[in-house]
Amino acid sequence: MSNTNSLSYVRKEMLEQQPAPRSQVGFTRWVRENLFSGWFNSILTIVSIFVIYKILAGTLPWLFGGVWDATSLEQCRTILTERFGNTHYACWAVLTERWNQLLYGFYPETQYWRANLAFVLMLASLAPVLFDKVPRKMLYLTMAFPFLLVWLVWGGTIWGVTSVAVGFILGGVAFKLVDRFGSMALSTIAAVAVALIWWLFIGPSVVGGLNAVAPLGHLQEVQSRDLGGFMICVIIGISGIALSLPIGIILALGRQSDLFIVKTICVGFIEFIRGVPLITLLFTASLLLNYFLPPGTTFDLTLRVIIMVTLFSSAYMAEVIRGGLAALPKGQYEAADALGLDYWKAQRLIIMPQALKISIPGIVNTFIGLFKDTTLVMFIGIYDMLGLSNAIRANAAWNGIYWELFIFIGLVFWICCFAMSQYSQWLERKLRTDHR
C-alpha cells in the first residue's frame, strides 16, 4: 500500500510559461541555424557573401553612376570620361530621350492623351473584374471599354465602334427572343446570323451615312503601323488575355462533350494550334491571310495579330481548364444533376467556379506566357519595345547601346508579370474555403 502511495502524485499549481533561451529565438537563432550550422556551411556562407559583394561592387556603380541626360551615346561617353575617367557606366539617357517612343511607338505626339486616357480607363475597367469589393456598377464601364479603346486609339468617329456594339446587342436580343422557343443551339445560330447581317450588310452603310451627316466625336485617325512600344504590347496582351479565357472554357467543355462533332472540332482545333509555333501563326496573320480574304477587304493588322495570339493561348487555356475539370469529384456533377440544375447552370454555378479555382496557377501561367509572347510581333514588323530597341540602335546617335534598353524592357515585363503572379496568389488565398 505504501508503495502505491509514494507513486501517486498530483500537481496542485501549474507552472508559469518561461521564455526560451536566447540562442533559440529571433535573429541569433536564424543566423545560427541557417548560415553557421556547421564548418562546411560556415565556409559556404563566407564564400557566398564574398561572391555577392563582388557582383554588387561591379554592377551597382554601373547602375547608379549612369548618365541620364545626353542626346547620343557619343555625348554620354564624353560626360562619363570627364566625370570618372572611364566609360564603365550605364547610359540611361537613351531611356529619357526615347521615353515616348518606347511607350507609344510612332503614335502622333499631339494624340498621346488618347493613349493615356485609354490606359487609365483600362485600369478602371479591370478593377471590378479583379476585386469584388469594387462597386458592381463599374462592370458597365468594363463592357464599354473594348469599344472605347478602339475609338480612342485608332480614332475616327464614334459611329464605327457603335455599329460593332450594336451588332452585339442585336445578336443578344435575337438570342433572347429565339431562346423562348427552345434549343440553345438554335438561338446561338440566330444570334450569330443577326449580328453578321448587321456587321456585313447594314452596319457599314449606316455608319457611312452617319459619318457624312454627323461626324460625332471625330478623332484624328491613326494607322495600326504607327502603334508600338509598350502600348501595343498592352493592347495585344490584354485583349488576348480577356478573350482567351472564355474561348478556352468553351473549348474545354467542348472537348468533354458527348456530341461527336463538337468534340472532334474542339480536339482538332486544340491539337492543331498546340502543334504549331506562335510565330508561324503570326506570319500567317501578317502575310498569308490577305490571299484568302476577298480582294479589297482591309483587315487591320493589329486585329489579325490579336486574333492569332488569342487562338494560340486559348488552346493552352483549354487544356489547363480541362485539368481543373478532371480534378473535380464526380459527386459534384451528380449533386448538381440531382438538384435539377441543367447543364449550363451546373457549369456556371457549380463546376466552373471550382474548376477555375483549381486551375488558377495554370491559367496565370498561360497569361504570363501570352504577355511575354507579344514581343514576337517584332518579327512581323510591328514595333513593340524590342523592335524599337533595334530601331533606336539603327540611329547613328545610339548605335551600340544594348544593355540599358534590354534591362529596361526586361524590368517592364518583370513588373507586369510579377504583378499578375502576386494577384493570382492573393486570389487563391481569398478563395480558399477548406480551412477549418
Binding site: 451528380e334 449533386a335 438538384l339 441543367d342
Partner: protein
C-alpha cells in the same frame, strides 16, 4: 436490436396511400456487357419507407440512381410521379426537381456556404426570390439542427453535420420523394445517430423514402418494406418483422447472418 437508437416514433403521419409514387416495370441495365440490373419490378406508393439492402455490387445504388436518371436504364419503364423517364431533358429536369437525393459522400458544394448550398437550387431551378429561398433554407437548417452553421463552408463541418446539410439542401426543393444512397456509410460511428434521427423525423412527417443502407436497426424501426437485392435482382421483399425474423430465401438468410451475426 442491433442498434441502441431506440426512441419513440410517432407513427400518426406514417401512412401509406394508394397513390403510386414510383413504378418500375421490367427495368434492365447493362454496363457494357455486364448485366447490372435484371428485370426490376417495383411499385412504391406515396408515404412508403423502403429500405434496400444487399451485398456490395448487388445493384442497389444503381437502381435508385436510375430513379432520378443519374444512371440511364436501357430497357423497361420508370414512371415517377406520373412522368415517364425518357431521354427527354424536360421530363428529367422535372423529375429531378421533385426527387431529392442524399449521397454517401454528401457532395456539398465546397465553394459555397451552407446557406448558399441550400438556396442555390430553389433560386436557379424554382426561381424563388433570394429572400424567400433563404427563409426556406433557414427553416430546414433549423429542422436538421444546424442553423448556427449557416455561414460556414462545408469543409468546416463534421461529417454528420455535412450529411444533415445535404438532407436540408434536398428538402429546400420541397421534394415529394427522397432517395438515400448509403447516407451513413462514410460517417464515424458517433455521427451515424444524428443522421438517422434526422431521417426518422422525415419519415414521421410522411415522406416517401427509398434508402439504401446497412443500418438494420433503422430498417426495423422505420421501414414498412425491406427489399433484398443480389446480383442485380430483387431477391426478396417483405415487411421488416417478417424479413428479419423469417427470411425466405437462402441468400437472404446468409446475408442477414453475416450482417447481424457479430
Amino acid at each position: 436490436m442491433s442498434q441502441a437508437v431506440e426512441r419513440h416514433i410517432d407513427r400518426s403521419n406514417m401512412t401509406v396511400s394508394d397513390e403510386v409514387a414510383i413504378q418500375i416495370t421490367n427495368m434492365n441495365k447493362w454496363y457494357g456487357e455486364f448485366h447490372v440490373l435484371r428485370d426490376i419490378n417495383l411499385t412504391v406508393n406515396r408515404g412508403e419507407r423502403i429500405v434496400i439492402a444487399g451485398p456490395s455490387g448487388s445493384g442497389k445504388s444503381t437502381m435508385i440512381r436510375c430513379i432520378n436518371r443519374l444512371e440511364e436504364h436501357q430497357q423497361g419503364k420508370i414512371i415517377v410521379d406520373g412522368t415517364e423517364l425518357t431521354s427527354d431533358l424536360k421530363n428529367i429536369d422535372k423529375i429531378r426537381s421533385e426527387v431529392g437525393m442524399c449521397f454517401q459522400h454528401f457532395n456539398l458544394f465546397p465553394h459555397l456556404t451552407i446557406l448558399e448550398n441550400c438556396t442555390l437550387a430553389p433560386m436557379w431551378v424554382r426561381k424563388t426570390p433570394k429572400r424567400e429561398a433563404e427563409e426556406i433554407a433557414m427553416h430546414f437548417l433549423e429542422k436538421v439542427k444546424i442553423p448556427d452553421q449557416a455561414h460556414k463552408y462545408p469543409g468546416m463541418l463534421s461529417g454528420g453535420q455535412q450529411q444533415r446539410v445535404a438532407i436540408a439542401r434536398s428538402l429546400c426543393m420541397k421534394p415529394r420523394i427522397m432517395l438515400f444512397d448509403e447516407p451513413t456509410s462514410a460517417l464515424d460511428p458517433e455521427m451515424i445517430k444524428e443522421v438517422l434521427d434526422t431521417m426518422i423525423e422525415l419519415a414521421e412527417e410522411g415522406m416517401t423514402m427509398l434508402c439504401v443502407t446497412h443500418e438494420m436497426g433503422f430498417a426495423r424501426q422505420v421501414a414498412n418494406r425491406v427489399i433484398f437485392m443480389d446480383q442485380g435482382q430483387i431477391v426478396e421483399q417483405n415487411e421488416p418483422e417478417e424479413f428479419f425474423n423469417n427470411p425466405k430465401s437462402e441468400r437472404t438468410k446468409l446475408f442477414l447472418s453475416q450482417i447481424l451475426g457479430h
